[in-house]
């Protein structure tokens, strides 16, 4: 009984999702074909209105200039069997995961240290706070200069994207652990190390999950920009320079459909990574599933 109800519910969610996507695609298709249907006499007032506010008269602003989903799909079919396209996915994923893993590996211990030690906080936090407002993209030139390879330079930028968010979340999470848990543990004979292992770590875990999900999002944002600016590892000769470079290359080559293919690919790649992270997070914090 419960399984059937659950199935129905998921179905409904699935249906809503499908309707939402189809509706979006239909509106987009209509929008980008506005040149065709707006030529009809019925839309004369609309054309006049657009003209009056200083826009192009014969199609809808913005969306009328975007390639239609059907054209984008056709362009996608064109690149789907090209190794270069998948190489772009692979490159971007590698950079994102590399930078992200490094941010976790450095950020979690660093954040925990800041949270549990007053001395570490006093020494580490001011520097951290000065560096934090610098946007990762501002590091691109310095990163290219100071890292031996382009690959490391881009990975460093993605690392920065996730690092600050992870540290801030870890510190905040560890500090908001209820004092009573420590008092209870201490009364029951827990040592300092026990309290770190059994209270601080699990108590911070939900914040680590949240911090890494947000950090992962930022990582995708910065990897694309870093690839565009740095030329996506130009030793590869353009092909396989990552999804950001794929977009830039399509722009330079004048293939507007491919720009959109690249954009949607990033959307999907980001979604896949967040979803992976979320399911990992759910496994790591089973007690939060039951609320």
């Amino acid at each position: 009984m419960q399984a059937t109800v659950g199935k129905l519910l998921t179905n409904r969610v699935l249906w809503r999702g499908a309707v939402s996507i189809v509706l979006f695609l239909v509106l987009w298709e209509l929008g980008s074909r506005s040149k065709l249907w707006m030529a009809h006499d019925l839309f004369t007032p609309l054309r006049e209105l657009l003209g009056a506010v200083g826009l192009k008269k014969d199609y809808l602003p913005w969306v009328g200039a975007v390639p239609a989903p059907s054209a984008v799909f056709a362009a996608w079919l064109g690149v789907i069997d090209e190794a270069g396209y998948w190489q772009s996915w692979y490159m971007s994923f590698q950079r994102v995961l590399g930078g992200f893993a490094a941010a976790m590996a450095v950020g979690i211990p660093f954040g925990l240290m800041l949270a549990v030690s007053r001395t570490a906080h006093g020494i580490g936090f001011p520097v951290f706070e000065v560096l934090r407002p610098i946007p990762p993209l501002a590091w691109v030139p310095a990163s290219i200069i100071f890292w031996p390879t382009q690959e490391l330079a881009i990975m460093f930028i993605t690392f920065l994207g996730a690092f600050y968010t992870i540290v801030i979340n870890v510190v905040g999470g560890a500090r908001s652990i209820d004092l009573r848990y420590f008092q209870a543990a201490q009364s029951m004979g827990a040592s300092k190390w026990d309290m770190f292992k059994r209270i601080v770590l699990p108590g911070t875990l939900p914040s680590i999950v949240v911090g890494s999900a947000v950090g992962m999002g930022i990582t995708w944002e910065v990897v694309v920009a870093a690839e565009m600016i740095s030329g996506g590892g130009s030793q590869m000769g353009g092909a396989g320079g990552g999804l950001g470079f794929f977009i830039w290359n399509s722009y330079v080559g004048g293939s507007y459909e491919q720009i959109v293919v690249g954009m949607i690919s990033i959307g999907i790649a980001g979604y896949i990574s967040s979803e992976l992270l979320r399911s990992l997070g759910r496994h790591a914090t089973p007690w939060l599933r039951v609320r």
Binding site: D178, R180, Y181, Q183, A184, A185, Q186, S187, M188, G189, A190, S191, D194, R198, I199, P202, G203, L205, T285, P286, W287, L288, V290, R291
Partner: protein
């Protein structure tokens, strides 16, 4: 002095002596006296109820016994051993004095059973396997069979309190320090919890230091009720509840219970009014 009802014969430990304890917050700046020359002696195995308005300083006293806060002067002894004094203002928290907190302090990331076995395993008193056996048995005894592998967030707040009391008892404490544990519960759940607590108590005779602002709860559960003055806190009136244990809920409608309520109600109300006029904050 009225005849004191003898404490249960089984208990030979858990004697608390609070001797002239003073607690002043922030002695340098604007000094606020939370506890004012408070003396109280609690017998082994006694349920001593501490009643006073919110914010009167009773939690300060509990924290001093538990070893969470310092005292300014005076001393507290447990079974003749000095816990704290003006030379040693902060007691060392230990498994002989376990607090059950107002809003509960079960670790949400551990299952109920893992919570229950935390103390003995930490202290190295029991092997994990032994602790699990003992924990299961005690949980079953407290009507908690079946929720061992649930997380605290998955069970009702009444059950969570019971798990927490079992967790406390697993440490084999001399004293249970309960800080308004049933404050957040509705009155129906509360009445069930009271009987459950007594049932657990009859099986595990420990001294209970129980803070509440609910006079009915105090008289129903306690051997003695100490009515405290509002901040600064000290005993205003000590009431010996001469209703024999074991008690159940029929006690609430008995004539003696009503008489005791009437006898003490005014003292409690007076202090509540003072606290209200002083604008004491909750907690």
């Amino acid at each position: 002095m009225e005849m004191r009802e003898p404490a249960p014969a089984a208990a030979t430990r858990g004697h608390i002596l609070i001797d002239d304890v003073v607690k002043v917050y922030d002695p340098e700046g604007a000094a606020v006296m939370a506890v004012d020359h408070c003396s109280l002696e609690i017998e082994p195995g006694e349920i001593c109820m501490i009643v006073g308005p919110s914010g009167c300083g009773k939690t300060t006293l509990l924290n001093a016994i538990a070893g969470f806060h310092e005292i300014t002067s005076g001393r507290i002894l447990l079974d003749g051993e000095l816990l704290c004094s003006s030379e040693l203002p902060k007691a060392q928290p230990g498994p002989d004095r376990i607090v059950v907190f107002q809003n509960g302090a079960l670790f949400p990331w551990k299952t109920n059973l893992e919570n229950v076995i935390f103390g003995p395993v930490m202290q190295g008193r029991l092997q994990r396997g032994e602790a699990i056996d003992r924990g299961r048995a005690m949980m079953a005894d407290a009507g908690l069979a079946g929720v061992e592998h649930n997380y605290p967030g998955e069970v009702s707040s009444g059950m969570r309190r019971r798990v927490e009391i079992v967790r406390a008892l697993m440490n084999d404490p001399k004293v249970l320090l309960l800080d308004e544990p049933y404050r957040a519960l509705d009155s129906l759940t509360k009445s069930v919890m009271h009987e459950a607590l007594l049932e657990i108590y009859y099986k595990n005779k420990v001294t209970i230091f129980f803070i509440t602002h609910d006079l009915e709860e105090a008289i129903f559960l306690g051997h003695r009720v100490a009515i405290m003055t509002t901040r600064p806190c000290k005993p205003k009136k000590l009431l010996t509840v001469d209703i024999p244990h074991p008690r159940d809920y029929s006690v609430l409608t008995s004539r003696r219970f009503r008489e005791l309520m009437e006898e003490t109600n005014e003292a409690v109300h007076e202090e509540a009014l003072k606290a209200f006029q002083a604008g004491e904050k909750e907690g």
